[in-house]
């Protein structure tokens, strides 16, 4: 059986390492593109949110590439928003196009133990020890690739040779997908960091930090936000983006091995309490906690990326406005749908960067 995961920057790397360790085939993930978005727009509901439409097209592309099963974590919970319906929709859309065996598997919502049993069954019933080792590989790779992403985000506005940090990231990330043990992943991380230290940086360059806030799957995919992070870097802004897959995945679980993630997750929730006492959907609470934390640690503005029709984003907007007002920092909401153009967005980013720099 051929497997794949939903898109989301580095998530697929950890999935690939784990699934291949169990002896399953993981199909190389295509990058999101306009063709997928257009196909999804034609085949999904009229006023579905943008990720919904893009994922429809993405699922169809995977089906064409021979994928039998897409694996998705964390559905059927108060945070799930439309994920369950999305998973079923993606599967149905591809099956309707002549791929009857294509399916999407999602877990969660019934308790961790049942989720683990389901997962074990889907992975071909490996021995419990092997299952555990695969999980450890997943966690180590996910955390390590997140760490690499943070380093690249930090280095990009400071690098002497433009593109050096990205080239480094592009070289090292895929290697983690080949890791077959925790030690191997750790060794790769040490090697990658050692090479990172060789990237030439301009230490005295004036850098203004800003917070980049939004729903995880969207802020981690350059396709959705027209590569905002790099655009802001080129405008002399350092983009702080603390939300990561490892934070949300392990922050939800109480695992000794990921106590740091849990602690940070709880910390963000606590910081958000002043503005949000409920959990309406998705990770709105974490987004708000991150925004407050980053501003208090020196971020000079907030860029909120939202996609048209996204209910969590609609809810997040007025609350982030309130945070920005209370802390006196500029905020830019960037709303994107399938008709948005990169050019108009660039102009807004430049104006925002000017404003933030002048205020600084």
């Amino acid at each position: 059986m051929k497997y794949a995961s939903l898109p989301g920057l580095n998530l697929w790397i950890a999935m690939k390492a784990m699934l291949e360790y169990y002896g399953n085939e993981f199909v190389t993930m295509p990058e999101l593109n306009n063709e997928m978005m257009n196909w999804g727009t034609q085949h999904s509901a009229e006023y579905a949110c943008l990720p919904y439409k893009v994922y429809y097209g993405f699922g169809y592309e995977l089906a064409k590439r021979g994928v039998d099963r897409v694996l998705v974590f964390g559905c059927r919970s108060e945070r799930a928003c439309r994920y369950v319906d999305l998973c079923e929709g993606i599967a149905k859309a591809a099956r309707d196009q002549g791929y009857p065996n294509f399916d999407v598997t999602y877990w969660g919502g019934y308790g961790l133990f049942k989720a683990i049993l389901d997962f074990k069954r889907d992975m071909g019933n490996p021995a419990w020890l092997k299952l555990l080792r695969g999980g450890i590989i997943f966690g180590t790779v996910l955390t390590a690739t997140d760490e690499l992403n943070d380093l690249a985000n930090w280095a990009r506005p400071r690098e002497k040779i433009s593109g050096a940090a990205d080239a480094w990231l592009k070289k090292w990330w895929p290697r983690f997908g080949e890791a077959r043990s925790r030690l191997e992943a750790k060794r790769l991380l040490a090697q990658a960091k050692s090479e990172f230290a060789k990237i030439e940086l301009e230490e005295n360059r004036p850098i203004v930090p800003v917070a980049f806030i939004g729903d995880l799957f969207k802020i981690h995919e350059p396709f959705f936000h027209f590569d905002t992070i790099r655009k802001l870097n080129r405008l002399g802004l350092e983009v702080k983006q603390p939300q990561s897959f490892s934070l949300l995945f392990f922050g939800n679980l109480n695992l000794w091995s990921h106590a740091g993630h849990r602690k940070l997750f709880k910390y963000y929730q606590k910081r958000a309490k002043k503005y949000l006492k409920s959990i309406p959907a998705s990770y709105i609470d974490i987004c708000i906690g991150e925004a407050i934390d980053l501003i208090e640690k020196g971020a000079k503005g907030i860029v909120h990326f939202q996609s048209f029709g996204c209910m969590p984003d609609i809810m997040l907007k007025p609350i982030l406005d309130r945070v920005a007002r209370d802390y006196g920092v500029p905020i830019m909401h960037y709303l994107r749908d399938s008709h948005s153009s990169d050019g108009a967005y660039q102009t807004r980013l430049e104006a925002f960067a000017d404003l933030v720099k002048k205020k600084n």
Binding site: Y47, C81, V84, D85, E88, G309, M311, I319, D321
Partner: protein, 305 residues
Amino acid sequence: MKIAIPRAGLYHLYHSFWVAFFETLGFEVVVSPPTDRNILEAGLKIANGEMCLPMKIMYGHILWLEDKGDFMLLPQMSEAKFGSAEPGSGNFFCPYFVGLADLMAAEFSDLKILRPKMGFHDGMVEPDPWLSLAQELGKSETEAAAAYAKASAAYQDFSVQQKNIKPAASGKTIALIGRPYVTYDDYANLNIVDKLANRGFAVKFWENIPENFLQAGLDQVSPRFRSHWFLTNREFGAINHLASQPDIAGIVYLVPFNCGPDFMIEEAVIQQARSRKPITMISLDESTGEAGLNTRLDAFIDMLK
């Protein structure tokens, strides 16, 4: 002390509980008037343009009530148990109603909000958040328990009242299915109930359907294709049930434009019912015109003949 309650959103389902609870505690309850043009337009000025029509209406009601009570009641909707799907699935309220108090606190900094969690189990409102709220408002444990008991009884009475349908002279009934804040808000739905009555039809809502039939209707849908959302699943169950009822001439399915939960299943619902019963879906937003609605209803009724 005055408690302000907006006549919007889930008020249309749970007002009997809310009003009885606070009145029994001895508080004055102020409810905003039925939605009208002024309320909607006030809401449109402040609500996020992407929101659905019922949320825009909600903003308008809150603006109307802003200075008319000591506290505003905006319960935080919690999980509801319905249907035979596995625990944790299909029981969630729309995020706007879960986070309504947080949204309004962000918009209106001076608003004093009461935000008890409102969850359900076996058709009953879960008591603990309401008992705690009464005590926070200075009432004794006994007073709180009495208020909860009276509110629960009022809620049950309301459910029974909802089941009384006025028969039409023609003897024909049309089922009007949709979110209660659309089907019961005459301004939002452009008086569709009167329009159907004027055309000789009695109107049946999903609240008129006994719980076990709703559940049986939902059970016809594979658990995989049930929705994540509580009200959407009730619509699904109701339409499935009504589609096989001989006394129902047709089904009108009302959907607020840009409704996050409903957009997912509207096509599935219609496909499932279409082979068994005439059904039409009408999408409503603030710019929906009355003439257009009349034409669609006339066409649908012609088809029923």
